[in-house]
């Protein structure tokens, strides 16, 4: 009996901290947010108990609807651009870089590892009116005078791709690297063109990595708030900015909670789509 009891106690000690942490500071807070999203609010910003759907109704008004459309557009564009650039890079590192592959991966880890704000500040300098990019464009005669690159959607997009590109390359590389090279050679030997081999062998085998990359980019890019402010000039408001404004500036917790619940739901849909797609891909094999 003593031994069994000791084992029970031991497992309890091992598990208690993490279970408490998750239950008390992740699960319970999320439940409070969900409850707040249905709560009322007095004119001074205090949350009143009650049940109303007004917060959600307000979100489907035109102003907020645009925020959702903007966020979705920005996240989708970021994901597509990251995949379009990240796939060839991952392919090159996996199949063509040879002994240089570890060094290339390491070089990609460096910007990923450096403080996010410092990386963005580098782009603020580069894209500024007197910045190196404008200087270069004027010097090569492509521009007559510097133009305002900062404060545009393009600048936001550059920052987003810059922030999320490493997150695309790593999972795709991880999917490409273990592909049996003999499969690809077999494709070529059997008379398939490189395009056919790629579409028939390499791409399907690397799809799980592509899906993971899409998830890693799409979900967090909807909650970003610093990049649109610093590079996009804060003109285009996305979900992340809206949440910051509602909680920290307008002190509107119920409405902010409703936005958070919707963001959480959208992420959940993203994760479910990912898992379904992954299952379909696995079933194809």
């Amino acid at each position: 009996m003593g031994r069994l009891l000791r084992q029970r106690i031991e497992i309890g000690v091992l598990l208690a901290p993490s279970v408490l942490l998750l239950a008390l500071f992740v699960l319970a807070p999320l439940c409070v947010v969900a409850a707040y999203s249905f709560a009322l609010r007095d004119p001074y910003g205090a949350v009143l108990p009650g049940f109303t759907l007004d917060n959600y109704r307000e979100l489907f008004q035109s102003v907020y609807l645009w925020v959702f459309v903007n966020s979705f557009k920005l996240a989708a564009l970021t994901t597509i651009l990251c995949l379009a650039v990240g796939y060839p890079v991952a392919w090159f590192i996996a199949f063509r870089a040879g002994p240089w592959a570890p060094a290339l991966l390491m070089l990609l880890l460096i910007p990923f590892w450096i403080n996010f704000l410092i990386r963005i500040s580098a782009w603020v300098v580069l894209l500024g009116r007197g910045g190196l990019i404008n200087q270069g464009l004027v010097a090569t005669g492509l521009l007559d005078a510097p133009i305002g690159l900062l404060g545009t959607t393009g600048a936001t997009l550059v920052g987003m791709v810059y922030a999320f590109l490493p997150l695309t390359v790593f999972p795709i590389y991880a999917a490409l690297q273990p592909i049996d090279r003999r499969l690809i050679e077999a494709g070529a030997d059997l008379g398939a063109t490189p395009a056919q081999t790629f579409l028939g062998v390499t791409l399907p085998l690397s799809l799980p990595g592509v899906l993971a990359a899409a998830l890693f980019v799409f979900v967090p890019s909807m909650g970003v708030f610093a990049i649109p402010v610093l590079l996009g000039g804060g003109k285009e408001i996305i979900l992340g900015n809206l949440i910051v404004q509602l909680f920290l500036e307008f002190r509107n917790m119920p409405l902010g909670s409703a936005v958070s619940v919707l963001l959480l739901a959208l992420s959940g849909v993203g994760i479910l789509l990912y898992m379904r797609a992954l299952r379909r891909v696995e079933a194809m094999k």
Binding site: E10, I11, V13, L14, L15, S18, L21, F25, V26, A28, P29, L30, V32, V33, V85, P88, V89, I93, R96, P99, A101, P102, L104, L105, L109, I110, P111, W113, I114, N115, F116, L117, I118, R119, S121, A122, W123, V124, V125, G128, Y162, A188, G191, T193, P194, A195, F198, V219, P220, G223, F225, V229, L230, F247, M253, S257, S260, L263, L264, S267
Partner: protein, 277 residues
């Protein structure tokens, strides 16, 4: 006749083209990823107030950063929070990782998934939830809320790193220790722990770095007087870029890269080996 040129395999042209494209995309991507950082570091040594026009070499901005009270205070807060949250995260994550990999209990898979969940949930929602919860519970925002928030952000990484190490341990070593008369605590302290030490160190460094660089969680969980370094930098950046930020950025680049090599130093030889197949 051997003198005739061998006909090229079908699709040769497309193959070269595709290879060329991938090579060029890779080259440009690396330029895109690394050039801004190089420019930032170089211009940190610029004299004069401009962040874009080179006016001569100087280290005066590093001195300015060093003597900036706000930055020193924020650095202090960031270091305290990073060390405390990394220690907690590593401890909690390691306990859970050992339980998940070495013990049987109901709900094991669920706990494993739940501990990884903060990785795929939007951080801003977790941060907002903690803020709402603390307000609801009447807790004043400060060190405690910051540290707690950062533990939530780093716990998936700490757990995954220790899990990976714990699952590759040889269970026979532990039973050998038991056979030799060691009790459970002795076995843990003298056999299991030394083998897990490198993973614990990696988990700690990674958690500390994640905390030190965190902006989103800190935005919602820091209180009066607990402004972290990234929060300070963010408000400085909103006011406009200054050479001071460049100098501070250069210092953080060096620190971040040093820690990266410290963490990756162990894995790099391993990576090189697997790639030489």
């Amino acid at each position: 006749m051997t003198a005739a040129r061998r006909p090229r395999a079908p699709g040769w042209a497309t193959r070269t083209f595709v290879r060329g494209i991938a090579g060029w995309v890779t080259l440009l991507t690396y330029l895109f990823m690394l050039a801004p950082i190089v420019v930032l570091v170089v211009f940190a040594f610029n004299s004069g107030k401009s962040t874009v026009v080179w006016q001569g070499f100087s280290v005066e901005w590093f001195g300015k950063v060093w003597s900036n009270r706000h930055i020193a205070r924020a650095l202090n807060v960031s270091l305290i929070v990073a060390l405390a949250s990394a220690a907690l995260s590593t401890l909690i994550g390691a306990l859970a990782a050992v339980a998940i990999t070495r013990r049987r209990f109901p709900g094991r898979d669920l706990l494993g998934a739940a501990l990884a969940a903060p990785l795929v949930l939007p951080e801003i929602v977790l941060a907002v939830a903690l803020l709402v919860f603390m307000t609801f519970a009447g807790v004043t925002l400060g060190y405690a809320t910051l540290i707690l928030g950062h533990v939530i952000v780093s716990i998936p990484f700490a757990t995954l790193i220790v899990r990976a190490a714990a699952s590759s341990l040889d269970p026979r070593l532990e039973s050998a220790a038991a056979d030799l008369g060691a009790n459970e605590w002795q076995t843990f302290r003298m056999v299991t722990l030394p083998q897990l030490a490198p993973a614990l160190f990696t988990a700690f460094l990674l958690s500390a770095t994640l905390s030190f660089d965190n902006l989103v969680m800190s935005t919602f969980t820091s209180g009066v007087g607990t402004t972290t370094l990234p929060l300070r930098i963010y408000s400085m950046l909103k006011l406009g870029i200054t050479p001071e930020i460049n100098a501070l950025g250069a210092m953080m680049v060096v620190a971040n890269v040093a820690i990266l090599f410290l963490v990756m130093g162990r894995y790099l030889p391993l990576m090189l080996k697997t790639n030489r197949r």
